[in-house]
Assembly symmetry: C2
Homo-oligomer: 560 residues x 2
């Protein structure tokens, strides 16, 4: 059974032909032709989610972990606008989302009809492209146009750089008429795979330039890892003039890398900092969590090459000199074989510092006051091997980067725009597609914000949630802050007395809590032993967290 | 204490000078200069709300009931996007909102910085105007520009038609520096009051045209009532060739009007319907809830005049012939005195039908099965005099129009776009500014959707909430529907087992429930006798509601 509308038949066929499997449809009547058409179509996994904001973040999670485009369909009006935060996050995180909005026919916009706004290009600031589908196919060219832009749209979600696209479907009544099968086969324009390489002379030239540098830093931010990048990068990490700095959401963990950037940079002397500052930074991946490394690299001494397909010209350190628009694994292989490495103590020195600081961090944390920092350390230790981890935004994402991470884990987080608005929903979607365990580590504000995250069919037993409840936005006590304590509490930290137990109760999730070391350990055991999706809420002292963090850096600095 | 940034000093002074009192600031660091500047400023009532979506709907409620612009301020990134649904609703409901977004300086957009998106014009599809403020005042013209557009923006929220405007403030660090008082007084451009009138010949001509019509319908949709409109309109409602049809959110209630449009139109014969169809419809106000009246008026026989300032040329019935861009009260007074009314039985006949149907509706409801319909009748009876009522969207808004309403009540609802996304938050804001009681009547989906509505300081004891829980989107059983029952339940109705008790418990609101007539009466007594903000949840039979509604219309039709 499928809608009698040709455009709906076309998009349904095309989504299947182009490998889309997950479809989320939010309730409504204008999008009825979609609901009817997808409802019994076994080619797709289709679910309904009521809150569109949450729905879109779930779609983001599905797409992030499956690395396939996910279709997200809503009715007309403000429904579409509720998708916006997740679409913007997908844009900057480079996640493929096919956003489909049902609309009134254009001639009825602004005429006082219900659930009608001007939807044309409404996401234009944060999608790869927007398209308006033609409703009335009274010319053969219109059929051609529709099929063509649908092909283009789905392709653009993946190529050349992943991201969200928007298809707006004006639909005239009747919305509920169906036929047994599509009347015509849609035109599928295939997209042949290609390989992107550099000219041999370019490879030679780049290798030569790198070979001249005494200090080369490879810095990996948020990254869609291909497995083979790791081993390639490990080869580079053995070169005397190279160090590899990786962030948690790079997906690249190795004892040969510096995985705790802030722990390194915050605990060295000014002289050592100058030593760390590279001649050349080779950046791969997207957003960087560490502000300190950005500060270090924004210096005249540094030259920055960006390796990867670039949707936006992102000159993060204001020192961008070269864009090398090829895949990272190709780059490291092709260039690596031609390097002629100079003598340098860059790698040896920094990795020695790193080893010392790693020990000191553990040593400090063992005796530190119960706080966000010690909780994050314990949590990282407790997460089972081969899990995936979703990081909530703000302070959590920063604490996670202070301790060495189990290399079998893969970390993700909404660091494209770093909003606190959809971290739980993203984790719900992510856990649904990953066959192993997914652990969300989130702050209290972020968790409470996304309070409709469990109102859907995606919640799986494989999702475990740890709320680090420091009674407000802890981040504001660790960054440069406001002058008045009252203003801090009201407008920045947003201190509160809430907790996650009510949501757990409502959605029948097991709930454990802890407010000291011992209960935390018991709580973590229970959490990971529990059969269903469950929550461990850890209460940390709001007023002590920033102090512990400062002491942590001081201790390492003084003793290294 | 105020931020050291000139633009912040200017807007703070201007908002005060132009009569803005309510300010909502959502947490964040980029908007710190605002938080710091408003925090101790006694000229404003300033509150923090964490969930930006809810915050914006609260602002909408504040502005709707105070009829003054409300300032709504957020940090950069997806925070702003969460404002979108309420801004779109404000645009179509004509509610004055001053939306202020803090932003990174333009040169840092798309450079991998946290919480940064392209905010310039991001709401352009649904605001009156968008402005980018200049950060660096290195030219005198820039100061002039900033002050000028701030004046324009605040004025545009009110004149000539109320609506939302957007001011985007790029702000460079440091964000926390303050001084004692503004360095310079901002330039305030005053806006003198004016009166808008018609030429005497026009008045004469319009009066002449109306006097030639045997059947004139005055139809009032959503309307910002001025009190004197009612008595003017009541004079017109006594004319033989005129009937006044009003909807719940017109704010105009009188025994001389037909206030239950669907009850009239759904229960007449085809012949009677033809009689009701006017020669001329004079429309005032905005969105119309009744689909039936729209259908009736979309006929070649009808001529439509729109009276009021028009931001959009809204030809709701496709019969728009004349726009009379003056205030309704002026129109009815000026034209009314010059009418030379023809003989007609239009008024007498329709008002007689209306009286009969009014009796029959009560008669039916007295013996009807407990359902959405009987609940709405009881609730309307129980709401104390001089209250304000907020209507949730979908079926609730339609049921409310079936029974005559207490004329001391004032009804509002988010009928601009008719989304279900922020009805509770809007009610929270509305109740905060109205000194009497405010009752929200909402559906279950709408209530559960807006689950962060109580997470703020605006929740007042004067707010009473009635949830009509029919286990899903009841609207889909009363409008033209989907072919399969399973599809209906999953993608349209979204049937569920949830209720509002958990939210009540979490936010410490008294909670009562009822699932039969008797308990409903007791529940309503308790609700209105309770001291705090409290909730009465009424469970109605999901499968029976549509049947009762159909029987209601059948009964009236057969017996009138």
């Amino acid at each position: 059974m499928i809608s009698d509308k040709r455009a709906i038949q076309d998009i349904t066929q095309l989504l299947y032909a182009k490998g889309v499997y997950h479809v989320i449809i939010t309730p409504g009547s204008r999008n009825a032709p979609f609901s009817i058409s997808f409802f019994e179509n076994r080619n797709f996994d289709v679910h309904s989610v009521v809150d569109e904001r949450s729905a879109a973040f779930i779609a983001l999670g599905l797409a992030q972990q499956s690395d396939k485009p996910v279709a997200l369909i809503c009715t007309s009006g403000t429904a579409a606008l509720n998708f916006s935060p997740a679409i913007a996050e997908a844009y900057y995180q480079e996640i493929p989302l096919i956003v489909i909005t049902a609309d009134r026919p254009m001639e009825w916009v602004d005429q006082g009809e219900g659930q009608t706004i001007n939807q044309s290009g409404v996401f234009r600031n944060f999608v790869r492209s927007s398209y308006d589908i033609i409703q009335d196919l009274n010319d053969k060219d219109f059929e051609w146009y529709n099929a063509r832009v649908m092909n283009e749209a789905i392709d653009k979600a993946m190529h050349p750089v992943r991201g969200p696209i928007h298809l707006n479907f004006p639909l005239r009544e009747s919305l509920y008429k169906t036929i047994d099968a599509p009347l015509e086969e849609v035109k599928v324009i295939e997209r042949v795979e290609r390989s992107i390489q550099l000219e041999p002379e370019t490879v030679k030239e780049l290798a030569r330039e790198i070979s001249l540098k005494k200090k080369v830093m490879i810095l990996v931010g948020q990254f869609h890892t291909e497995h083979y990048t790791l081993s390639k990068l490990e080869e580079w990490a053995k070169l005397p003039n190279v160090v590899v700095f990786t962030e948690s959401h790079s997906g690249l963990e190795s004892p040969l890398f510096v995985g705790c950037i802030d722990r390194m940079i915050m605990t060295v002397t000014q002289e050592q900092l100058e030593f760390i500052r590279p001649d050349l930074v080779i950046g791969i991946g997207k957003n960087i969590i560490s502000r300190k490394i950005k500060g270090l690299l924004r210096s005249n001494r540094v030259e920055h090459w960006y390796v990867g397909e670039d949707a936006l010209l992102m000159d993060t350190f204001q020192r961008l000199k070269k864009i090398v628009p090829v895949a990272a694994d190709y780059f490291f292989e092709a260039i690596g074989s031609q390097l002629c490495v100079p003598d340098s103590d860059y790698n040896r020195t920094i990795m020695a510092w790193n080893a010392t600081k790693q020990q000191l961090a553990i040593q400090y944390a063992e005796h530190a006051k119960f706080s966000d920092l010690t909780v994050c350390k314990e949590v990282l230790k407790a997460i089972p091997d081969n899990s995936r981890v979703q990081m909530g935004n703000s302070s959590i994402a920063r604490y996670i980067q202070l301790f060495d991470r189990n290399s079998s884990l893969r970390f993700s987080g909404n660091r494209g725009v770093s909003g606190i608005d959809g971290c739980t929903s993203t984790a719900v979607g992510a856990a649904y597609v990953y066959e192993g365990l997914t652990t969300l580590i989130t702050g209290d504000l972020s968790f409470l914000y996304d309070s409709n995250a469990f109102w859907n069919e995606f919640v799986t037993d494989r999702l475990k949630i740890i709320i680090v409840n420091n009674g407000g936005g802890g981040i504001f006590r660790i960054i440069e802050g406001p002058p008045s304590t009252q203003a801090l509490e009201k407008f920045f930290e947003t201190s509160h007395q809430r907790n996650g137990s009510y949501l757990a109760q409502e959605f029948k999730l097991a709930y454990f809590s802890a407010s000291n070391e011992e209960d935390l350990k018991i709580g973590l055991d229970k959490l990971f032993a529990s059969l269903g999706c469950s929550i461990l809420e850890v209460f940390t002292p709001r007023m002590a967290n920033d102090e512990v963090l400062r002491d942590f850096f001081d201790f390492i600095k003084e003793n290294s």
